[in-house]
Symmetry: C2
Subunit: 194 residues, 2 copies
């Protein structure tokens, strides 16, 4: 959900054009999912012709893979104390308007879950760039299990908000939601450990 620059008056620069395409594609994939994101619209956002995309990346699938590879550095999400992490995540999930660039990979994954090939690509990158750093940060014997749980919770919140931005809840209830989510994350992180 990254803002996309107009790419005005910067012509004949393959590297920059390639980057514009990647940015526009990430935005479209995150917003609309693999299927609904059209090459022509991505190209229009990037300010180039649709043919360039197939030309540069080989095809839509390869573009998708390239976007995932360029996007998915969610590792920076995982730092600080457990309390800090829980609060930060809960706030991001409930309050931040359209999440964050760091969450693009999650949005892309969930919005593309129904496309078998896109799902396979995102599964692999999700494992290596999301769950593994998360498990490493969590630490301990069952870190991978906890990572899967928290990942599922984050994705679920993402889906919920994608379908229903305000969760059909009022302001006060959103505060409650954030607080309880924080507790839920903390409880999951801390269960059965010092």
């Amino acid at each position: 959900m990254t803002a996309v620059g107009l790419a005005v008056a910067r012509r004949r620069n393959a590297e920059a054009t390639r980057q514009d395409i990647l940015d526009a594609a990430r935005c479209r994939f995150a917003c609309e999912g693999y299927d609904r994101a059209g090459l022509r619209e991505i190209a229009a956002d990037a300010g180039v012709d649709a043919a360039l995309i197939s030309r540069y990346f080989g095809g839509k699938e390869e573009l998708f893979a390239a976007v995932l590879a360029a996007t998915a550095n969610a590792a920076e999400l995982f730092h600080g104390t457990r309390e800090d992490f829980a609060a930060r995540m809960a706030h991001m999930m409930v309050r931040e308007p359209q999440a964050d660039t760091k969450l693009d990979s999650i949005l892309i994954m969930l919005r593309s879950a129904s496309s078998p090939r896109a799902a396979e690509a995102s599964r692999r990158l999700g494992d290596s760039r999301f769950f593994e750093p998360m498990a490493q940060w969590i630490g301990g014997a069952d870190a991978e299990v906890v990572a899967r749980l928290l990942g599922a919770l984050m994705m679920g919140m993402g889906v919920s908000r994608a379908i229903n931005p305000d969760f059909s809840l009022g302001e006060a209830e959103l505060d409650q939601l954030e607080g309880r989510l924080r507790g839920m994350i903390l409880h999951t992180l801390s269960a059965g450990r010092p």
Copy 2:
């Protein structure tokens, strides 16, 4: 993800044909999402011509709405004690091969989240047929908030498993996952109440 009968040799029966179409459509929508589910494939599954669908339901969107309206009785999920519910849900989420017919509505929702109109339809029905019964079963002042949290968790587990059926985990770890998920649900259900 309901199995679909062959619909063999039962012709000239509008009501039954209509039901066959609904069953096939629910299956396809749940498996592939709104976009990827083609009217021709749905018709083939139901054993009728694709033209009949537009004829009976008016169009793809109306068919989707009809499927949601006919499917989403998730209310029966919500019964028993909190411990029983948590165990049942955790088992269903982690272990049951392709979930359950009762979860079709969830699958449809998450697989169709990227189609604005389908998302709007599923949001409304999800609220009335999933979150409201859930909140009612939960009870208490902040039941709606808790329902949103648990709903997100369930959806997230659904997405995770849709992308990655075994969570990249071994048997023993799946047991851990189920146990921890049960604890997570129970904790969320019980936080701040008797």
